[in-house]
């Protein structure tokens, strides 16, 4: 089973992100379970959503306490929430930021063989460029496909097309595709 925890702020589409990821996995014939955290969902408040992906039926209903990957939609949460809680050594982290790992002071989390596989992606900028709004979900899911290989970009694209009306969908597809390419290129050049 592969478990993902998505962190963001109310209004950024955290729940939709988990939902689209689960649809993408379903389209690959896998079992997937997406659900929101059971916290107060107010605009701007820290919120979480979860997604589990497996080849067999998923029965467990607890929150994702030991994620294989984290998607962080808002880097300002780093100061507010214990985002890395339960993340094992070599766990994936995809962080929406234009800053580098060192600029955010996360160097100690990313270096050495035992550390997290930490990746930065300017997802909000990609969203503004392609969608015209600061909705980083699609780009982050494209990036997620690139860094983890758990899901194919084509499945993310298909899930986006299922979720949104065609005009908005195509803009999000463009954001996801560019994010996938960016993250793939960064992966080639990094030692992560």
């Amino acid at each position: 089973m592969f478990q993902v925890r998505i962190h963001g702020r109310g209004g950024q589409g955290v729940v939709s992100g988990a939902e689209i990821l689960s649809v993408a996995a379903f389209l690959e014939g896998k079992h997937a379970q997406a659900f929101p955290s059971f916290g107060s969902e107010r605009t701007g408040a820290p919120v979480m959503a979860f997604c589990r992906i497996d080849d067999k039926e998923i029965r467990v209903r607890e929150p994702v306490l030991q994620p294989d990957a984290l998607i962080i939609q808002d880097s300002t949460l780093l100061q507010q929430v214990d985002l890395f809680e339960g993340l094992p050594v070599r766990g994936y982290v995809l962080l929406n930021s234009t800053h580098s790992i060192d600029e955010l002071g996360l160097g100690a989390f990313s270096r050495g063989p035992r550390k997290y596989r930490l990746h930065m992606l300017p997802a909000t900028e990609l969203a503004v460029k392609h969608v015209g709004r600061a909705v980083p979900n699609a780009a982050l899911l494209g990036g997620f496909a690139a860094i983890t290989g758990v899901i194919a970009l084509a499945s993310v694209v298909a899930a986006i097309r299922q979720k949104f009306p065609s005009k908005i969908a195509e803009k999000n597809v463009a954001a996801a595709t560019e994010a996938f390419e960016l993250a793939s290129k960064a992966l080639e050049t990094s030692d992560a």
Binding site: R5, V15, A18, E19, S22, V23, F26, L27, H31, A32, Q33, A34, F35, P36, F38, G39, A45, P46, M48, I58, R59, V60, R61, E62, P63, L65, Q80, V81, D82, E85, G86
Partner: protein, 417 residues
């Protein structure tokens, strides 16, 4: 057709396939997405011959449901928590009149303190209202139970609640198999009311019944539920034949053969319990579980057969009978009358507290050593409780408890579990 969708949406599709003619509801979290989905289908004309009636309260929702069901049409509504309490008087009336209304409960805690998250306090509060209560373990089962519920309700002329865990199921996206209209039509015949308000053949409903006949009317209500004990497994078997999967029934056992410890629970937590059972079985622990689907009628004989060879039973309950302990436990004990077997009540998941594999594993290990209290509160934070009791012992004017505890524990946004 296989589909990855939200639990609420899956239920809305299932209800639509049952061709209800009146849907009346008032929104309340976490049930809202179900009736929103149905409202959209009615508006889009996808649900033919169905009227969606907006009402001003839950009391009105059930009152309208009583009216339309009495007028002879298939009627559906849904609610949660305080909404169910607000319609309570009409809930009893629907059952007393024998009207086959189907209602979804998106299970949620009851205030105060106000809490929108899941536990079973709401439907448990109406357990003796005369409705049949079925609890769904997964979204597939929630979907399937609605199709069975209409047939059950109409065969018996008795209302049915389908209970599904709020958020945990209602808001979860997972794979469901949505049947075709032809399949559902073949399983669920046209509604033929036993009683209806018909100007061509007038009758009156709701007579005043004195001591001379009240007991008999009540007894027949009980008798109806005893018939349901036989009918529920029959319908589950017929459903399985028609749809090719198992859903519903009185209860389901999981690895109970040769089990020394058996866990009994209702609803979605059974999935987590089964995972823990598997992990413990791998370590050689003889443990199994029972998922009760039909809470009303309560399956005394089936439960006795499932439990009688065990050494101990752990009843995991998402509702607290304040001043007593567990509600499900009472029924479990009754089913075991005359059998010497250790029984433990565990109150868990109140107000949406996560029930984790780690906590359940510790709990079941303690149970295996018979080191549990009669009533245990899973993951109770004893420090918080002691702090508050200490504070309250020091001064008379302590102020409200809930607010004091929130101040003490500080921000919760920073924690994951």
């Amino acid at each position: 057709m296989l589909k990855q969708t939200e639990g609420s949406h899956a239920v809305a599709e299932a209800v639509a396939l049952c061709r209800p003619q009146v849907i009346c509801a008032y929104p309340i979290t976490p049930q809202t997405h179900i009736v929103e989905g149905l409202g959209e289908m009615v508006k889009a004309g996808e649900l033919a011959d169905c009227e969606f009636i907006n009402v001003e309260s839950e009391f009105a929702a059930m009152s309208v449901a009583i009216g339309s069901s009495a007028a002879g049409v298939r009627t559906y509504t849904a609610t949660s928590s305080q909404g169910l309490l607000f319609m309570a008087e009409a809930v009893y009336n629907a059952a007393g009149l024998g009207l086959p209304i189907v209602m979804t409960i998106g299970n949620r805690a009851i205030g105060a303190p106000i809490n929108i998250w899941n536990d079973h306090s709401d439907s448990m509060s109406m357990r003796d209202a005369g409705w049949i209560q079925l609890f769904a373990e997964t979204n597939q089962e929630a979907l399937d139970l609605h199709i069975q519920a209409f047939r059950l309700a109409e065969e018996l002329s008795c209302p049915v609640m389908v209970c599904m865990d709020g958020f945990i199921l209602t808001h979860a996206y997972e794979r469901v198999d949505i049947p075709t209209q032809e399949q559902v039509d073949a399983f669920l015949p046209r509604y033929q009311p036993r009683q209806l308000l018909d100007p061509a053949d007038p009758v009156s409903f709701g007579a005043l019944v004195g001591p001379e006949a009240f007991t008999e009317v009540r007894y027949l209500q009980h008798h109806k539920q005893l018939r349901a004990i036989g009918l529920i497994p029959q319908l589950a078997a017929a459903f399985s034949k028609q749809f090719g999967r198992n859903s519903g029934g009185l209860l389901r056992t999981y690895r109970t053969e040769d089990a020394e410890t058996i866990v009994v629970a209702l609803g979605s937590v059974n999935g987590t319990v089964q995972d823990v059972v598997d992990e413990m079985r791998e370590r050689g622990v003889r443990i199994g579980s029972v998922s009760i689907c039909s809470f009303r009628p309560f399956p005394l004989a089936a439960l006795r057969a499932a439990l009688e060879h065990a050494k101990r039973v752990v009843v995991l309950e998402k509702c607290l009978a304040v001043g007593l302990g567990g509600i499900v436990s009472d029924g479990v004990r009754k089913s075991l009358s005359g059998i010497a077997l250790k029984g433990y009540t565990v109150i868990a998941g109140l107000g949406g507290r996560a029930i984790t594999r780690a906590s359940l594993t510790r709990l079941f290990e303690d149970a295996g050593r018979d080191e549990l209290e009669q009533v245990t509160f899973l993951d109770l934070n004893a420090d918080v409780v002691s702090f508050e009791l200490e504070r309250e012992s020091k001064t008379r004017r302590t102020g409200p408890t809930a607010e004091a505890i929130l101040r003490h524990i500080g921000t919760v946004a920073a924690s994951i579990g």
